[in-house]
């Protein structure tokens, strides 16, 4: 017998439907699947030049972590901004609110497949990097996982905020651009922060997406590139500030999403 629904059951139901939709969205699937391959090819040359600025991190390390960050940005942030906007303009979100799922469950359930896909790709990048590029085993796996989880949570909330100012799926490419550029250029994905002037780098370390992405570097390689690698215990000290900042930014983004998210199109 079916009984009362549970939060997990409702997330599963929403996630399964959304996964089917994602699978049938050729553009999103192509972007999501082709992206990591393209990135690994192009990032390498960009990062070759930058490697001399980041003691403790070589080209391959920068490349794999950078690729993870870009995958999370495109697959979670861009994809979800479009998905939230599409579901809103089709009145799917409004209809879902007539059911038993809570508002948070509706947003999370919609995000489940995108987050799942992005994390799977990060896993593949990580395993591929370790096997093919001879990268070391993660120094602090807990920090690495925390970095992935916080990045996914932050980008989900930011996607909800971005979709609040996105009227149609067609304009999602424009509304996601500012954060996409800021994150790629200012969060050390393409250009290591250490290659920038100190004052600029310090500002960049405060950007919304930087702290969570720094945790990936520190967790895996024991350093964010500003100094030699630490051991497991040492990484906690280095990670304290980015960890706090990442949690704070995620909380702010979640609050903004609750405050500004729109459940139906403007009349």
């Amino acid at each position: 017998m079916t009984a009362a629904t549970t939060p997990a059951g409702r997330l599963l139901a929403l996630g399964r439907a959304e996964a089917t939709l994602l699978r049938r969205n050729r553009t999103a699937m192509f972007m999501a699947l082709a992206l990591p391959l393209v990135l690994v090819g192009t990032l390498r040359s960009v990062l070759n030049a930058a490697a001399e600025h980041t003691p403790g991190l070589d080209v391959n390390a920068n490349m794999v972590v950078g690729a993870m960050g870009v995958v999370l940005l495109i697959v979670v942030y861009c994809n979800l901004t479009s998905a939230y906007t599409a579901r809103r303009s089709d009145l799917v979100l409004k209809r879902l609110r007539t059911g038993e799922a809570t508002d948070t469950e509706i947003l999370l359930g919609t995000a489940v497949p995108s987050i799942g896909l992005a994390l799977t790709q990060c896993l593949l990048l990580g395993v591929g990097g370790a096997l093919l590029l001879d990268l070391p085993a993660p120094m602090n796996p807990l920090l690495l996982l925390a970095g992935l989880a916080l990045t996914a949570a932050l980008l989900t909330a930011l996607a909800a905020v971005s979709s609040a100012v996105t009227k149609t799926v067609e304009t999602a490419g424009i509304t996601t651009l500012p954060l996409l550029l800021v994150a790629q250029l200012g969060s050390g994905l393409m250009v290591p922060l250490e290659s920038l002037p100190d004052s600029v780098a310090n500002v960049c370390r405060l950007l919304p997406t930087t702290p969570a992405l720094q945790l990936l570097r520190i967790g895996w390689f024991g350093t964010d590139g500003s100094g030699p690698a630490e051991n497991f215990a040492g990484t906690w000290g280095q990670a304290a500030t980015p960890l706090l900042l990442a949690v704070a930014w995620t909380a702010v983004a979640a609050w903004a999403a609750r405050r500004w998210f729109r459940w139906e199109p403007r009349r």
Binding site: A4, A13, L14, T20, R24, L91, V92, G99
Partner: protein, 324 residues
């Protein structure tokens, strides 16, 4: 515990206001002091022209929007604050569906079944609305009427105690409309409270135990169909022949209970006893061999009542439909 002598209303609204935008001229007040009571097991129709405030009212009753002022209770609960407790007991069909076009009918059903306490099976719900043969079709390929029926099926998954239907038969062909009406009657017979909006007067006349006519954000007439019609007399219209002259009305017999209006040769009689007045009139015409031109007798209908109410406010154009 509920007081058995006077059952708690299934839906109740007191002094409901709903405003869009800022206060003052920049905003718009769609609902202006609405009172509504729907008894358990009752089928209640909310009628009105487009823009009368029906959907704005429904959204508040459904808990999708908070009222600007006033009290709302559904099954004794606050639909916005007690959303989690109330949702498993009610079913909602919005005016426009909201199902992703790329999912099939069955996939849509599976998702909604996972969001519904004690859900019927998907096939059972689809069968209720006659959509079972279309279960593998993508939603975007459904006709407008089929989409409405899918929407209804999803609202029925949880065997709701109270069912909110916002224009359930709009866009349906006559056959589908008849089967939806039959389904709604069956649900009501099984004890479901149904609150529906419609601008098909025939639909309210066919289905509703009680109805309310909304106009300009307020309920302007309400009660059973008979009660609403009682305030709106039947009408007999005819033309007297030329030779009867300008004082034609003087030739008319005295018709008790009928009130004549004279416009040249055209006479309109308003009466609460259509048959009696008509018998008298036809008898008089036969005795005096008076031909009654363009004779037309109409019993009071919701349409008449509706037009009279809409005409009371010339600023809004009534848009009424007739079920085909």
């Amino acid at each position: 515990m509920t007081d058995t002598s006077r059952p708690r209303p299934a839906v109740e609204a007191r002094g409901l206001h709903r405003r869009y935008g800022p206060s003052g001229a920049a905003g718009f007040e769609a609902v202006r002091g609405l009172d509504l009571t729907v008894a358990p097991g009752e089928l209640f129709a909310l009628l009105g022209t487009n823009g009368a405030g029906k959907t704005s009212t429904m959204e508040v009753l459904e808990g999708l929007a908070a009222p600007t002022a006033g009290e709302v209770r559904v099954l004794g609960l606050d639909p916005a604050r007690d959303r989690a407790a109330l949702r498993p007991r009610i079913g909602i069909m919005l005016q426009e569906g909201g199902f992703p076009g790329e999912l099939t009918v069955a996939e849509t059903g599976r998702c909604w079944s996972g969001l519904t306490t004690d859900s019927r099976t998907v096939d059972e719900a689809l069968d209720l609305v006659g959509l079972l043969p279309r279960r593998s079709v993508r939603v975007k390929q459904l006709s407008g009427g089929e989409r409405r029926r899918l929407d209804l099926a999803m609202a029925l998954l949880g065997r709701p105690e109270v069912l909110f239907l916002d224009e359930p038969s709009t866009g349906l062909d006559p056959e589908a409309r008849a089967s939806v009406w039959r389904l709604i009657r069956e649900l009501r017979a099984a004890g479901t409270t149904v609150l529906l909006t419609t601008h098909y007067l025939e639909e309210a006349e066919e289905l509703a135990d009680r109805l309310a006519i909304m106009h300009g954000g307020r309920v302007v007439a309400g009660g059973t169909v008979d009660e609403v019609l009682a305030d709106h007399p039947a009408r007999i219209g005819f033309e007297l022949p030329e030779r009867s002259g300008p004082h034609a009305a003087l030739d008319l017999p005295s018709l008790p209970g009928a009130e004549p209006t004279i416009d040249g040769r055209r006479i309109t009689l308003r009466t609460t006893d259509l048959q009696g007045t008509l018998t008298e009139l036809l008898g008089w015409a036969a005795r005096h061999r008076v031909p009654l031109g363009r004779l037309d007798a109409r019993s009071a209908s919701l349409e008449e009542a509706f037009l009279a109410i809409a005409a009371s406010d010339a600023a809004t154009t009534p848009q009424i439909g007739r079920a085909a």
